[in-house]
């Protein structure tokens, strides 16, 4: 198990592979399964979530260290983290509209994303210091991007494969995700994590 005493590299590795957010913890599945389009759409969505996740984690850590913990109001973590996520996603949406008008991000699935809230809550749950929580959130974000890139490749193969009529679309995606999840089970216990 990882703790605050673990090395940041180990925490990153654990969050990215051993406890991969999608395949080993089943968090963020709505955005994961509802991305339509090929490799490029998946990669862009992963990148958007990665940027917002890392930015949000910095804000979460500062908010927790300077407001929630000193005033002893840790029970307000869900409310405050959710508000921070909404504000950040709105700001990112304005930014994307101004500088990247060609890409249409589905802001609903980014702001309604469990991954960002989960990384904030897990960081405060483990009691990480700043470096460790950055390593953890970056690991979670890289794990998500890795998962969605691997899965977009599989999805492109499935589109030209003769799948039975009833399994087309979401069901075969879930079965594939189950097989990928078994692959990620192989990381379990590596380096004592």
């Amino acid at each position: 198990m990882i703790s605050n005493q673990s090395h940041p590299v180990l925490i990153f590795f654990s969050a990215c592979f051993v406890n991969n957010i999608v395949f080993a913890q089943a968090i963020g599945l709505c955005a994961f399964f509802n991305v339509h389009g090929g490799f490029k759409a998946s990669f862009l969505q992963g990148l958007a979530i990665m940027v917002i996740n890392i930015a949000a984690s910095i804000v979460f850590w500062m908010f927790n260290a300077y407001i929630l913990a000193p005033y002893n109001i840790a029970y307000l973590d869900i409310v405050s983290f959710v508000l921070i996520i909404v504000l950040l996603v709105q700001a990112a949406g304005l930014f994307a509209e101004k500088f990247l008008p060609l890409y249409r991000f589905d802001l609903f699935f980014i702001s309604a994303n469990c991954i960002i809230l989960a990384s904030g809550l897990l960081n405060t749950g483990y009691g990480f210091n700043f470096v460790n929580s950055m390593a953890h959130s970056t690991g979670i974000a890289f794990g998500y991007v890795l998962a969605i890139i691997l899965f977009s490749g599989l999805r492109e193969k499935i589109e030209i494969a003769p799948v039975p009529e009833a399994l087309k679309g979401y069901p075969v995606s879930f079965v594939l995700a189950g097989l990928m999840s078994m692959v990620f089970l192989g990381f379990r216990g590596l380096l004592g994590l």
Partner: protein
């Protein structure tokens, strides 16, 4: 085969049809394709599934009523923030209640209990209630949606508990269970098979009608 044609509001607004709309025709899992996180992660045992289903229903119904009462005073620009704020307040209430009353259940649900607020079902449904015109509609629709979601959750939990651990409510039914069903891969596989069965059922029915 997704029934996207059933997404519009019911023309005849009888009470039962509104309930049935959320329950079956617009079932959160099978039609809207949202709310997978607790469905894959939590449904290891039936008790956990019932608990998370109750939490989701509580948050959905209470924030649905609150938001449809507040729909005239919420400005359009900050709608998303208000939606998430209301949902997170009710999630905090539920999380604190479970942490105080049922500590071991709180440990079993872990991170997935506060993540109920980010559940796409809740955000998808309640963002509609701020547009709609009656409190009754949001009440019935949220009860229907949460009943539909709870049914799927509890059924999946039941299946996975029997096949994954060979037990039902601490009673050993058979030896040598399929252990992988109780882990995360089993969650994905079970949900995939359930979705395929529903698809197959819909396809068969459609074929007979033609």
């Amino acid at each position: 085969m997704r029934q996207t044609s059933n997404m519009e509001k019911p023309s005849e607004k009888s009470v039962f049809s509104m309930f049935l709309m959320g329950f079956w025709k617009r079932n959160p899992v099978f039609v809207l394709m949202v709310g997978f996180c607790p469905l894959v992660a939590i449904t290891v045992t039936t008790a956990n599934s019932i608990c998370i289903a109750l939490v989701v229903s509580f948050v959905l119904v209470s924030s649905g009523i609150t938001l449809s009462l507040l729909r005239k005073v919420i400005p359009e620009e900050i709608k998303m923030a208000v939606l998430m704020l209301v949902a997170s307040v009710f999630t905090t209430i539920a999380a604190l209640f479970i942490r105080a009353g049922f500590p071991q259940l709180s440990t079993a649900l872990g991170i997935y209990l506060p993540l109920v607020v980010m559940n796409c079902i809740i955000l998808d449904r309640i963002s509609g209630y701020t547009r709609n015109d009656s409190v009754l509609f949001s009440l019935l629709d949220s009860i229907g949606s949460s009943a539909g979601f709870s049914l799927v959750l509890v059924f999946t939990g039941f299946l996975r508990e029997i096949t994954g651990t060979g037990k039902l409510a601490e009673i050993q039914l058979f030896d040598k269970p399929v252990n992988v069903i109780a882990l995360y891969p089993g969650g994905f596989l079970t949900v995939g098979v359930l979705l395929a069965l529903i698809n197959w059922f819909v396809l068969e029915k459609g074929g007979k009608e033609q």
